[in-house]
C-alpha cells in the first residue's frame, strides 16, 4: 500500500504551516522526517494519518483519498503513534496492547483466538511477554514506549507512523526503540515513517530522509546523498562538519556555532 500527498497545504486557522507538499513515502522503507521545531513535520505526519484535516490538497492511501475511506478501514492499513500519549495508569500492558485490535472488531466480530494470537505476537516482538500483567504506572519510560509500539503492531498494518517515538527517553532506550522499528522494517517489510529530532540517529536509521524548511520540502532522499553541510545549515540553522560514521558508514554531523568560544 502506497501513501503520498498531493499539493497538501496545512495550517491552523489562517496560519499556513506547510504549503503544496508533494511527497511519496517509499514502500517497505524507513522514512524519517526532520526539521527544526515548529516546521510542521508532526503536522504533516498527523495529516497523513487523517488525524488533522488539510486546508487543501489530499493524502492518498493506496488509490483513494484518505478522507473518503472509513476510518476503521484505514486503521487496518496504517497505524499512528502520536507523541507521548497518556493512558490510564492502572491499565495493564496486555489490556493496552489489546486495544490495537479494535479496528478488526464489531458487533458480529468479538474478541477471537486470532486476536489473542496477534496480541501475543506483538508482546513477544517488543519483549513484553513477561510483564504483560504489569500496570503502566509500574513501567519505565522505555518499556512504556514499547507497549505503545506493541499496540500499533497489534493493529497489523503495513504502514506505521510514529511522532517522536524516542522523546524523553534515555539514550539506551532511544536506540532500543529505533532498533526495534528497523527490525520490523527489515524482517516484516513494514513501511515506517518517523518524526525525529536527532539528525544523527535519523541518518543512521533512515533509508529516506525528508527535510522540511519554511513550509516546504527542502530536500528528500538517501541520507548519504542529501545530508550535506549546507542542508544542516539551512534546515537547522547551525554549522556542521560531516564525517562518515565509523560504525554504520552513514553521515554523522558534528554541529557547532563557532569554532572558538
Amino acid at each position: 500500500m502506497n501513501i503520498s500527498t498531493n499539493n497538501l497545504t496545512l495550517g491552523y486557522g489562517d496560519f499556513i504551516v506547510l504549503k503544496d507538499i508533494n511527497v511519496t513515502i517509499p514502500k517497505n522503507k524507513v522514512t524519517i522526517l526532520v526539521g527544526s521545531n515548529g516546521c510542521g513535520k508532526s503536522t504533516l505526519l498527523k495529516t497523513m494519518a487523517r488525524l488533522l484535516k488539510p486546508m487543501s490538497g489530499n493524502v492518498v492511501l493506496g488509490d483513494m483519498d484518505i478522507f473518503q475511506k472509513p476510518s476503521k478501514e484505514i486503521a487496518k492499513e496504517l497505524a499512528i503513534l502520536t507523541q507521548s500519549p497518556d493512558a490510564p495508569s492502572d491499565l495493564t500492558v496486555f489490556n493496552l496492547v489489546k486495544q490495537g485490535r479494535y479496528p478488526y472488531q464489531s458487533w458480529f466480530n468479538q474478541w477471537s483466538k486470532e486476536d489473542e494470537n496477534i496480541v501475543e505476537y506483538a508482546l513477544e516482538k517488543t519483549g513484553l511477554s513477561s510483564i504483560r500483567n504489569k500496570k503502566l504506572s509500574e513501567l519505565s519510560g522505555g518499556q512504556k514506549q514499547r507497549v505503545w509500539i506493541a499496540m500499533t503492531l497489534a493493529q497489523q498494518t503495513e504502514i506505521i507512523l510514529l511522532d517522536e517515538p524516542t522523546n524523553h527517553l534515555d539514550i539506551k532506550y532511544k536506540i532500543e526503540v529505533l532498533d526495534l522499528l528497523k527490525h520490523l522494517n527489515q524482517h516484516e517489510k513494514r513501511t515506517i515513517v518517523i518524526v525525529l529530532h536527532d539528525i544523527n540517529l535519523a541518518c543512521r536509521y533512515a533509508d529516506h530522509i525528508i527535510a522540511i524548511k519554511d513550509g516546504k520540502v527542502y530536500a528528500e532522499g538517501d541520507p548519504k546523498e542529501i545530508v550535506t553541510e549546507k542542508l544542516i545549515n539551512d534546515v537547522f540553522d547551525i554549522n556542521a562538519k560531516i564525517i562518515e560514521c565509523p560504525l554504520f558508514k552513514t553521515p554523522m554531523c558534528i554541529t557547532y556555532q563557532n569554532l572558538s568560544v
Partner: protein, 341 residues
C-alpha cells in the same frame, strides 16, 4: 476467553471483580429495604409485605406505599445515574475533578426550576420537573455550542471553560430571582440542596425506563470509552469516530444527570466521588467501571437518604447535605490514596 498462555491472574481478578459486584448487589438490596422500613414512623417487614399483599389504609401502609417506596426507588436510580454521568464526564474531559455539573446541568436546571416556580406558581409538580430538565438540556446546549460543537469539533478544554461560564451566568440569574422573591426561596430550598423526598410514583414510572436505557447505552459504548481514555488522537488513529462519541457522551449526561437534577435537585458529590471509588476498586476498564459505578452510586445515595432521616431526628435534612457530609472525608481519603500510588 483467555487461553492457557495468558497467566491466570487476569481471569482470577475478573472473577474477584464479579464476586465483589454480586456482594455489592446484596448490599444494595439491604439498603433498599432499610430505606423502606426505617424512619420516623416505625414499620417492620410485616408491614411491608402487608402493603403489597393486603393493603389497608393504616398509616404504616400509606407511608410505605406513597412515601418510602418512591423515595427508595428515586435514590437508587438517581444515585446510579449521577454516578455513571460523573464517570462519563471524567472520561470526556480527562479531568478527575469533573462531574455532571461541569456541563451546566445543575445550574441550568436550578434556574429554570426557580424561574418557573416563581413566575408560574400554578404549575404542577410534573411541569416543574419538565421545565427544570429543559433548563439542564439548554445549559448543556449552550456549553456545547461555545466549545465548538456546532463546527463539529469539540475541544474538551473549551468544554470545561464554557461549562464554568454558563454555570456562573445561570447561577446569577437564579440568585436574582430568589432575591426578588423570598417566598420562593424558602419553598425551594429543599430542592436546591437536593432531596429525594416527596416525589410521586407516577413521575418515577416515566423516569425509570429512560434511565435504564441510558445505562444500557453506556454498556454498549464501553469498548469505545476504553479506547477514548487512551487519548483522542490514539483513539482516532485506531478508527474511532471520537466526535460522535463525544456527542453521545454529552447526550447521555444530559439524559441521566439532567433527569436526576430535575427530580431531586443538584445532589452534591455523587458524580464526583463514586467514579473515583470505582476506579480505585476495579481500574479503568469500562466493562467493570460502569456496573460498579451504577451499584455504588445507588448504595451511596440510598444510605445517605436513610442517614438523612436520623441525623437531626425527628426532623429530616436534605439528602444533598448528607452526601456532602459523608462524601467529603471519603473523597479526601481516595484522592490521597491515589496520589500515593
Amino acid at each position: 476467553m483467555f487461553n492457557i498462555k495468558t497467566p491466570k491472574l487476569i481471569l482470577e481478578s475478573n472473577k474477584s471483580k464479579l464476586l465483589l459486584l454480586i456482594g455489592l448487589l446484596f448490599l444494595l438490596i439491604a439498603f433498599f429495604f432499610a430505606s423502606l422500613l426505617l424512619g420516623y414512623i416505625k414499620t417492620d417487614f410485616y408491614d411491608l409485605v402487608n402493603t403489597y399483599t393486603n393493603y389497608t389504609d393504616s398509616i404504616e401502609n400509606i407511608v410505605i406505599k406513597n412515601s418510602r417506596m418512591p423515595r427508595a426507588l428515586i435514590a437508587l436510580f438517581i444515585g446510579a445515574s449521577l454516578s455513571v454521568s460523573g464517570l462519563l464526564m471524567q472520561t470526556l474531559t480527562k479531568n478527575p475533578m469533573a462531574s455532571p455539573g461541569l456541563l451546566g446541568v445543575n445550574s441550568g436546571a436550578a434556574f429554570f426550576m426557580v424561574f418557573a416556580y416563581s413566575f408560574m406558581p400554578n404549575l404542577t409538580h410534573n411541569y416543574l420537573m419538565i421545565s427544570s430538565f429543559v433548563g439542564a438540556a439548554l445549559a448543556v446546549l449552550f456549553v456545547y455550542a461555545l466549545a465548538g460543537g456546532i463546527k463539529g469539533t469539540i475541544q474538551t478544554f473549551d468544554l470545561t471553560l464554557a461549562g464554568a461560564a454558563i454555570s456562573a451566568i445561570f447561577l446569577s440569574f437564579t440568585q436574582m430571582v430568589l432575591y426578588k422573591d423570598q417566598k420562593t426561596m424558602e419553598e425551594i430550598l429543599f430542592w436546591l440542596t437536593g432531596s429525594v423526598e416527596g416525589r410521586s410514583m407516577d413521575s418515577l414510572v416515566k423516569l425509570i425506563p429512560i434511565m435504564l436505557i441510558g445505562w444500557i447505552i453506556c454498556f454498549l459504548l464501553a469498548k469505545r470509552l476504553n479506547l477514548f481514555s487512551l487519548g483522542e488522537e490514539i483513539a482516532k488513529g485506531l478508527g474511532l469516530n471520537t466526535e460522535l462519541l463525544k456527542l453521545q457522551i454529552i447526550l447521555l449526561v444530559v439524559v441521566l444527570a439532567g433527569a436526576s437534577v430535575a427530580v431531586a435537585g443538584p445532589i452534591a458529590l455523587v458524580g464526583l466521588i463514586i467514579p473515583h471509588f470505582t476506579r480505585f476498586l476495579v481500574g479503568a476498564e469500562f466493562k467493570w467501571a460502569i456496573p460498579y459505578s451504577i451499584v455504588l452510586g445507588a448504595i451511596f445515595l440510598l444510605s445517605a437518604d436513610v442517614a438523612s432521616r436520623f441525623i437531626i431526628y425527628p426532623k429530616e435534612i436534605p439528602v444533598g447535605a448528607v452526601t456532602a457530609i459523608l462524601g467529603t472525608p471519603f473523597f479526601i481519603y481516595i484522592a490521597r490514596k491515589a496520589e500515593n500510588k
